[in-house]
Symmetry: C2
Subunit: 124 residues, 2 copies
């Protein structure tokens, strides 16, 4: 149920030297843009927030997410799918319900990508 993520952020260390470190090439920019694009929607951002606020190993059932929006259930499911394809979350079916959680580390890696790594100007 989780075989189609991007793994953009989670790659070893070659994926992203940091936004401010050096100009991104086209491939890096394209991969990272998918992650930011996934977060670039109010509904998905709220979904991420609702899932992430459960903490490190926390999970949220879809049945808890859906009623928080004035949107149809298929629409919520669609947004969750996009977040999953962006490599931000994952899910598992347990009986009747499906539970979502934030993939560990992705938010920290994304934050590390944004923060400027060379404030004093000592690059290579």
């Amino acid at each position: 149920m989780s075989k189609q993520e991007l793994e953009v952020i989670g790659q070893d260390a070659a994926c992203c030297p940091g936004l401010s470190a050096a100009p991104l090439d086209e491939d890096q920019a394209a991969d990272l843009a998918k992650v930011f694009k996934a977060l670039g929607d109010p509904v998905r951002l709220r979904l991420m927030s609702m899932i992430a606020s459960r903490g490190e190993g926390g999970e949220v059932c879809v049945c808890e997410l859906t009623p928080a929006f004035d949107l149809s259930q298929p629409t919520i499911s669609h947004h969750l799918k996009l977040l999953r394809q962006a490599g931000l979350i994952d899910c598992e079916r347990r009986g009747t319900w499906v539970y979502y959680w934030v993939l560990p580390g992705v938010l920290d890696k994304l934050a590390a990508f944004l923060t400027t790594p060379l404030p004093t100007g000592a690059d290579a």
Copy 2:
């Protein structure tokens, strides 16, 4: 030339308690989503990277940015406008040329918003 930014990130402290801190309300999510949406395009991400890699007080002339892409000059100008409206960059005309720079602190604040502030469960 810089009177229409969002200032979503730059507000005092009431704007964003963190993605993982608590579920975002609709207004917070809508404002933050605009910033992430601005970064959710490969061209804009590369533009941001090219500008940000100049360092803290660094500037980049448009005439240096445009030839790095296989896009028309108005298209680059359009993307720069979106980045500016998202409150990520600002610009100033100096003679014939226009220089862009990253607004100080926005990337760090965005990163702080993403990183989970309560890993052990000691909030409030």
